[in-house]
């Protein structure tokens, strides 16, 4: 670890996203997954949960409503009664009655009537991970025995629809997806899902390569996004694509308005806690991934260390300093900075070997290509408010 400055570079928090890992276990085995421990059936204890919620509410980081995302493993492998207790625990410690939303990002294979009733009863926010029609989805999102999971996912989403539970979709774009914008569009329309987010296949942790890490991938992605933009814009009802909405907002922001600081670059805007109680901040994927440079990314364990102390810890200060230097590097060198805000630390670290770096494949694919497409569209027609 490098020498550490004691000056605070960025005000920690406020907490925006609390990412809790109820279990690292996932019942499926996607080939591009970044979770190293997804066969482990460990489960977060009520002692850890109690400490997390207690510390969160007494840390000074809660200054606005925030979201709890149950993630980093398939959250629905634990039964509704587990979450019933967890929500009650949080509510009991939330003495100031801060608005807290609970969210699940799920592969949808385990959604049944019990889950739907629970989701409705608690007004939970649901995101489904599905990569498109079966011929795309089943290439990467498989069971441990190598079978495709599409049919089960579809069944789960159908159940959500029967219960009139809204959900958004996040699809991972691989090279295989890029020739099929029309098929993906038709798929989302058929689902009745009008909110879509595209994640590009990333290089991070155990996923050391990406099918998009090739010189021809960016023009392929550009063609895909351009076609999808046209389809989405003409759709009735419209389909909101997270990437397009964001790029439009950034490009149309009044002159002189700086990009908002990236949640992943702000200390303690995200707090991630694994099922053993280890906690970290910045990109949630960092927790659990190795680093010889910082001796790991965990800032402590919630059973023995406090969030308040972690904010002042040399490890956090070192990571924060390097992340900040990377953002400054982006600002100085990248023409897209005003429409981005400085990139994602986890991608910089695992692609470039350092937080103190700038452009990544992730930047080129998930930000630059999107800005290129949306700017091109806006130059040619007045904005269509979807």
């Amino acid at each position: 670890m490098n020498a550490v400055t004691t000056a605070r570079l960025t005000e920690p928090g406020p907490l925006d996203l609390l990412v809790l890992q109820p279990t690292p276990f996932c019942n499926i085995n996607c080939s591009y997954c970044y979770l190293p421990d997804r066969r482990s059936r460990k489960q977060i204890s009520s002692e850890v949960l109690d400490r997390v919620f207690d510390q969160v509410f007494t840390s000074g980081l809660v200054r606005q409503p925030f979201t709890v995302v149950w993630h980093a493993g398939e959250p629905l492998v634990l039964p509704p009664r587990f979450y019933e207790k967890a929500f009650a625990l949080l509510a009991a410690l939330n003495v100031n009655k801060v608005s807290v939303a609970h969210s699940f990002q799920t592969n949808a294979t385990l959604i049944d009537d019990d889950w739907c009733q629970f989701i409705r009863a608690h007004d939970l926010r649901i995101g489904v991970s599905v990569d498109g029609p079966a011929f795309l989805h089943d290439r990467f999102r498989k069971t441990y025995s190598g079978q495709g999971t599409f049919a089960r996912v579809l069944e789960g989403m159908q159940r959500l629809r029967e219960y009139k539970i809204p959900f958004h979709v996040i699809s991972v774009l691989t090279r295989a997806s890029l020739d099929y914008p029309d098929e993906l569009f038709d798929f989302y329309v058929g689902l009745g899902s009008d909110r879509v987010g595209f994640n590009v296949e990333e290089i991070e942790g155990p996923n050391t390569t990406s099918s998009l890490n090739a010189v021809d991938a960016r023009p392929m992605l550009t063609r895909f996004l351009s076609r999808f933009y046209d389809l989405a814009e003409r759709a009735n009802p419209p389909i909101h694509v997270r990437e397009f909405d964001s790029a439009r907002a950034a490009l149309l922001a009044p002159p002189g308005v700086s990009p908002p600081p990236d949640q992943q670059n702000t200390p303690m805007a995200i707090v991630s806690v694994d099922c053993d109680g280890n906690f970290s901040t910045f990109s949630p994927e960092l927790l659990g991934l190795p680093s010889t440079h910082y001796d790991g990314f965990a800032l402590g364990n919630i059973l023995t260390d406090s969030l308040a102390d972690a904010v002042k810890s040399p490890r956090l200060m070192a990571i924060e300093r390097d992340i900040r230097a990377g953002v400054e590097r982006c600002k100085a060198t990248c023409s897209y900075f005003n429409y981005c805000g400085g990139g994602a630390p986890v991608n910089k670290y695992f692609e470039n070997g350092s937080f103190d770096s700038s452009e990544t494949m992730f930047c080129r694919m998930s930000r630059q290509a999107v800005v290129d497409v949306v700017l091109h569209k806006l130059e040619r027609s007045p904005v269509g408010v979807q």
Binding site: H71, R125, R223, D372, H376, P382
Partner: protein, 101 residues
């Protein structure tokens, strides 16, 4: 002497142009069509800070003359609120406005 050479070149150029128009014009047009980039292919990455900033500035000027400016500033920017958030979660902040099943 030099003038004569220039005149000859000019005449030759005119004949070539006429020939292209009359005889092989179709081929030229076809080739030009093939060479014209598609809408998607013409979406080039921004080459420099100035270039991108200028394009964005010009686009904003054009957009602000559009009649839907009020909608643009409120609805559209609100939809963009998820920006700069962790991408493995959706972060649409206006989730509660959405009940359109």
């Amino acid at each position: 002497m030099e003038n004569q050479k220039n005149e000859a070149r000019s005449q030759a150029k005119k004949r070539l142009q006429a020939l292209l128009k009359a005889a092989i014009g179709g081929v030229v047009v076809a080739a030009a069509t093939l060479a014209t980039p598609s809408a998607e292919a013409s979406i080039a990455p921004a080459l420099g800070k100035t270039s991108l900033e200028e394009r964005v500035r010009d686009m904003r000027v054009a957009q602000t003359t559009a009649a839907n400016q009020a909608e643009l500033s409120e609805t559209l920017l609100a939809w963009g609120n998820w920006g700069n958030h962790w991408h493995n979660w959706h972060n649409w902040h206006n989730w509660h406005n959405w009940h359109n099943w």
